[in-house]
């Protein structure tokens, strides 16, 4: 039972991170109708940049972190302008493939620049673990949960109360109408990519602090798909809920696998099975817009 609770807490924390990444993914999808297969690479690049600043340039954590955030925002905007903008109006397959190409390219580039081995972050916290419900939980995890919550609140505020957030929502709703009301759709696209890359970096750094930075980080980009399909591809809240559900699901599968079934590797595939079922039964997910077409 103890193991069960431990796994559920793990699931919640990892799930919150999935949720954050899924939110970034949904943000790009909502704003610019691009399914971003390179979302995981945003985490990867952000984490590596932060790691490089901390260990090679010996910056204090806060500065390294902020500089990598700024860098990644620029990076996201640049990717949108250089690679995605020429493809506006091309078929879906081209846009998907270009992000797949980006993912392959940057994954290899990162391996080339930083090697294939996981590198640990320098120690950031004095206390390594705290007690929650009588269970030891690493303080990084607590921080990550806190950071995730902060990001979510930030997203909520941004979309609800700021001018730019409103412009983004308008663009997501209908590009043509938004453009005719004087919203610069190009700016919105670029900004969406910038924000998405930045927030992904936060997630990347958190995971990097916990597990070390390695190319495995880009796997988070693929976990986003079950999460956002579960929650609904065009719902930011959905991405969040879906992420947490996927995190819980993985750990639940892991629990049953290790305790009863002993099939092995269930942890990795269960989200995909669930995703297939969701796609068959309720393709628009829990919170997505029901897109009904009748002929």
């Amino acid at each position: 039972m103890n193991l069960f609770i431990q796994l559920m807490i793990n699931g919640l924390i990892v799930g919150a991170l999935y949720g954050v990444v899924a939110m970034c993914f949904v943000l790009i999808y909502k704003a610019s109708q691009v399914v971003n297969f390179a979302q995981g690479e945003f985490l990867l690049i952000g984490a590596w940049v932060c790691w490089w600043l901390l260990t090679k340039q010996h910056l204090p954590f806060i500065w390294g972190f902020l500089i990598s955030l700024a860098f990644m925002t620029l990076f996201g905007v640049l990717i949108q302008i250089v690679v995605l903008r020429p493809l506006i109006g091309e078929p879906v397959i081209s846009v998907i493939m270009v992000t797949v190409g980006l993912s392959i390219f940057f994954q290899a580039l990162m391996k080339w620049m930083f090697g294939v081995f996981a590198q640990p972050f320098p120690k950031i916290f004095a206390v390594t673990s705290v007690n929650i419900l009588g269970l030891p939980v690493q303080s990084v995890y607590v921080m990550s949960l806190g950071v995730s919550l902060l990001i979510m609140l930030g997203f909520g505020y941004f979309f609800k109360f700021t001018r730019m957030g409103l412009a983004m929502r308008a663009t997501a709703y209908n590009q043509t109408v938004a453009a005719s009301l004087g919203i610069s759709v190009k700016q919105v696209f670029a900004l969406a990519w910038g924000i998405s890359a930045m927030v992904s970096t936060v997630a990347g750094v958190v995971v990097g602090v916990v597990n070390g930075v390695s190319s495995g980080l880009s796997g988070y980009g693929l976990k986003v798909f079950p999460a956002s399909i579960l929650g609904g591809l065009d719902s930011i809240i959905g991405g969040l809920v879906g992420g947490i559900l996927v995190g819980l699901m993985e750990n639940l599968a892991n629990f049953f696998d290790s305790q009863y079934l002993h099939w092995g590797n269930l942890y990795d595939v269960v989200p995909y099975y669930v995703m297939i079922v969701i796609l068959m039964v309720k393709p628009y997910g829990l919170f997505g817009t029901e897109d009904i077409e009748r002929v």
């Binding site: 399914v35 690679v83 020429p86 493809l87 091309e90 078929p91 879906v92 397959i93 081209s94 998907i96 493939m97 270009v98 797949v100 190409g101 980006l102 993912s103 392959i104 390219f105 940057f106 994954q107 290899a108 580039l109 391996k111 080339w112 693929l222 798909f225 079950p226 399909i229 591809l233 099939w263 092995g264 590797n265 990795d268 595939v269 995909y272 099975y273 995703m275 297939i276 796609l279 068959m280 393709p283 077409e293 002929v295």
Partner: protein
């Protein structure tokens, strides 16, 4: 994809027969025949290395053709093609090892078995499209990969499974030189079948589903049938390609059929030209030769300052992956219709020479 049906001006067809011929001109037909004859003579002159490259082009080209029918002609997206390729490879080896079916029959049977699996994963395609489909096929990739890693009875686990060489009437095609003809025969048949498919009602229905599925449905095309059919055809060809791969390498292990291979298949199709039969082959040639060209470049540069600065020898794997990614991005931005389009332009140039209009 837009210019696939593009015809130069002054190209008037007066009857349906002429519109549907496989080869538009006798020159085109003669070229293809000459190409096949040339390919048949290749084993006499080429060394083992060139032959192995050509065999690779053959079996990958068959699988890429399947993907092009799915992605280029029907407009369905699949990111799980490598898994089907792998399934074909394992099935052929399994049938041969456990039921003692001759390899000659195993290869088409593997194709059929893969088609059934493709059909099963294509079923969601009846309900979903576009992005959702891409994600569903991503799930297919992971589920099949997990299946390969899990089922020792089928794949032989980490050590892989042994595939016997191709035999016919007691003659064993176990050298590159002889196996080349097997692959060549399969490639020719697959490409002829695909070309013929595209001339038939079914082929045109697939294109109609791609171009405007609502109009297609109104014209009496059964969307569900053609979407799943397209998945089955794609998986069938992938299975054939995979089986040929298995009996060429004679050992199949489950690691190779990952997402990267799926992406490479997609890259072949995109580089060659979506919705072009010839393009599938051109794209495959490009993708097979790309790493070879990079290796050659690395060898040529070894010892120079570029080599020492970049550490080429240790990093050529990463550079190859980067090149694949960069090539995909570059083609999509600068030449979205692929090499087939370039080829059409070259043809048009010579047809109209010396006047450009």
């Amino acid at each position: 994809m837009s210019s696939v049906g593009m015809r130069p001006c002054g190209d008037y067809k007066t009857d349906y027969g002429r519109d549907q011929t496989i080869f538009e001109t006798t020159t085109a037909r003669n070229f293809v025949i000459a190409g096949i004859v040339l390919a048949c003579l290749m084993p006499l002159v080429a060394d083992r290395y060139v032959l192995s490259l050509m065999i690779q082009i053959g079996y990958l080209g068959i699988a890429a053709l399947g993907l092009n029918i799915l992605v280029g002609f029907t407009g369905q997206i699949s990111i799980g093609h490598a898994a089907f390729f792998g399934f074909g490879a394992f099935t052929s080896a399994y049938l041969n090892n456990h039921f003692a079916i001759p390899v000659f029959f195993c290869i088409p049977l593997a194709g059929l078995a893969t088609a059934v699996v493709g059909f099963a994963f294509g079923l969601p395609a009846a309900r979903i499209k576009g992005l959702y489909l891409a994600i569903a096929t991503l799930a297919a990739q992971y589920i099949l990969e997990d299946f390969f890693a899990r089922s020792y009875w089928f794949t032989g686990g980490p050590s892989g499974s042994i595939a016997q060489p191709f035999t016919l009437f007691g003659f064993s095609f176990d050298s590159d030189r002889s196996y080349f003809y097997v692959v060549l025969a399969y490639t020719i048949v697959a490409y002829l079948l695909a070309t013929n498919l595209m001339r038939s009602r079914d082929g045109r229905a697939l294109v109609a589903v791609r171009d405007h599925y609502l109009s297609a449905e109104m014209m009496g095309i059964n969307l569900t049938k053609y979407r799943t059919l397209s998945f089955a055809i794609a998986a069938f060809l992938a299975g054939i390609g995979g089986a040929l791969y298995a009996h060429y390498l004679s050992v199949v292990s489950s690691e190779g059929f990952n997402l990267l291979l799926s992406v490479q298949f997609l890259a072949m199709v995109i580089i060659g030209g979506l919705g072009s039969i010839l393009g599938s082959l051109l794209g495959t040639v490009f993708m097979v030769l790309l790493p070879e060209a990079m290796d050659a470049g690395t060898r040529a540069l070894s010892g120079t300052w570029i080599d020492t600065a970049l550490g080429l020898k240790d990093n050529v794997v990463f550079l190859r992956d980067m090149a694949i990614g960069a090539v995909i991005i570059g083609f999509l931005i600068f030449e979205p219709d692929g090499l087939a389009h370039r080829w059409r332009q070259i043809k048009a140039y010579w047809k109209l020479y010396p006047f450009s209009y």
